[in-house]
Symmetry: C2
DNA sequence: ACAAAAGTGTTTTTTATACACCCATGC
DNA sequence: GCATGGGTGTATAAAAAACACTTTTGT
């Protein structure tokens, strides 16, 4: 009895001042244009208030019955057609006032952003053209000031990308089924910068790990000796899962 | 004109099915009882539905005008008095149906949990006794099945704790101002397990890094040679910030 | 033949790991 | 003096980094 009444009173006191949230997901979608050695991020020009005409991360609000990851995936799929990608949750930004729509008159409705980080294959990523949405790949180094706190989110995502690349096999989610060791190296170079490792050391380290299969097929790209095509062996990689593994 | 009407229509379509969220924070609060070599996590026994009488992670719902981190901190401060702690965001769990209060009749109100991970100093952490809340330190190895998806959150937090300890100086947030190298070693042992590193190697590796200051003071604990007290030099640590640093 | 790209090997340096041993104190 | 915990050093193995060299192709 006593306990029950206390709980209800407590509930009442708390509920009085609870915030109501709209939850959005914002995607930091990276891709690597290995042809031109460019690390790209997908941006969308806002056509509505707030921050009209500012560039922003593509995102969406979460719908009824939809999981956060589903919302992130839907938002991505609405903007680009892509088969190969890596997607993971990044961070949740929810400081009061991060969205100007949180007006004082709106009785405490808050806008919370669960950000997701994605890496997609550039060569196959096809932007879905719509007159209403203005999408563009931006070089990460050349991104302008973004709407909301999206600059901060992007920076956070960029750090995560570099870490992920060093410690997990996300590169293989975005490379073709068969790739040359140079393809792989170029990807690492573009994301991590030129001087992360010597090619020959990179090469021998990866081959020694034993989860890259030589397919026997060779491919010639212009002048020079033809390169061997490798494939990523998921089974051989299993023992490395959850272990601190360094790719660089 | 055309563009405006399209935007409004779009907004309408979206809004129809948007989810409304209550946002909670759940804290995975760890502490290390070095006396008994135990890694502990703070749990709360639920006195209300749902999951009445189950153990759960302590948490709270986010209030108006309150940031996520503030809510996490408030929830922690309501349960334990502590001066030294490390606190960071862990992950956001928001799958539909994760909270039984999301009844079909509630018109899509969702319960989202932003989890936080904390490490506090066990020796000074004083549980705030209240008849209405049942708090206890549990050994991580002996935690029972928890309410909601809290077992999953705990597991996630435990992984993060181990990683953080290996790569960042969070141990010094929770050790006393002056500590012996053995205090530090015991902390690492308790969290990471006995066989993570030889004491003498641990010792020389850390001292070589140069951010541990010998205070000159010695302390004797029972038998054996007195140990030197060290302090963590934040300034000397600066160059290592943001660099991949291995403590183990 | 020679430039260009792929691939191999070797040397040096640094870091990790495993121990053996010395030092200072309480009892 | 000897058990106990604190602290130092050394020998070996493994990994990282630097770089020289060979191999195979297109032109």
């Amino acid at each position: 009895m006593k306990c029950n009444s206390k709980t209800e009173k407590q509930l009442y006191t708390e509920k009085k001042s609870l915030a109501d949230f709209k939850v959005g997901v914002d995607n930091v979608i990276f891709s690597v244009d290995t042809q031109h050695n460019r690390l790209l991020v997908l941006l969308r020009k806002r056509k509505e208030e707030p921050y009209e005409n500012s560039w922003s991360l593509p995102g969406t609000l979460v719908r009824q019955g939809e999981s956060l990851q589903d919302a992130a995936y839907r938002s991505l799929a609405e903007k680009i057609r892509v088969n190969n990608l890596y997607l993971e949750q990044l961070y949740t930004f929810g400081a009061p006032g991060r969205d100007p729509r949180e007006s004082p008159e709106s009785f405490g409705v808050r806008y919370l952003s669960v950000s997701y980080f994605a890496l997609v294959r550039y060569e196959e990523a096809e932007l879905i053209a719509k007159p209403s949405v203005n999408l563009a790949w931006y070089q990460v180094k050349e991104v302008p000031q973004l709407a909301f706190d999206h600059s901060q989110i992007l920076e956070y995502g960029y750090r995560r990308l570099k870490n992920k690349l060093e410690y997990s096999p996300i590169a293989f989610d975005v490379l073709p089924e068969k790739f040359t060791l140079n393809d792989l190296y170029q990807l690492y170079c573009t994301v991590l910068g030129e001087n992360f490792s010597d090619y020959s050391n990179f090469r021998s380290r990866l081959l020694k790990l034993g989860f890259l299969l030589d397919t026997g097929v060779k491919v010639s790209r212009g002048a020079g000796r033809p390169a061997a095509l490798y494939s990523f062996d998921k089974v051989a990689f299993m023992p490395f899962k959850d272990k601190p593994l360094v790719f660089i």
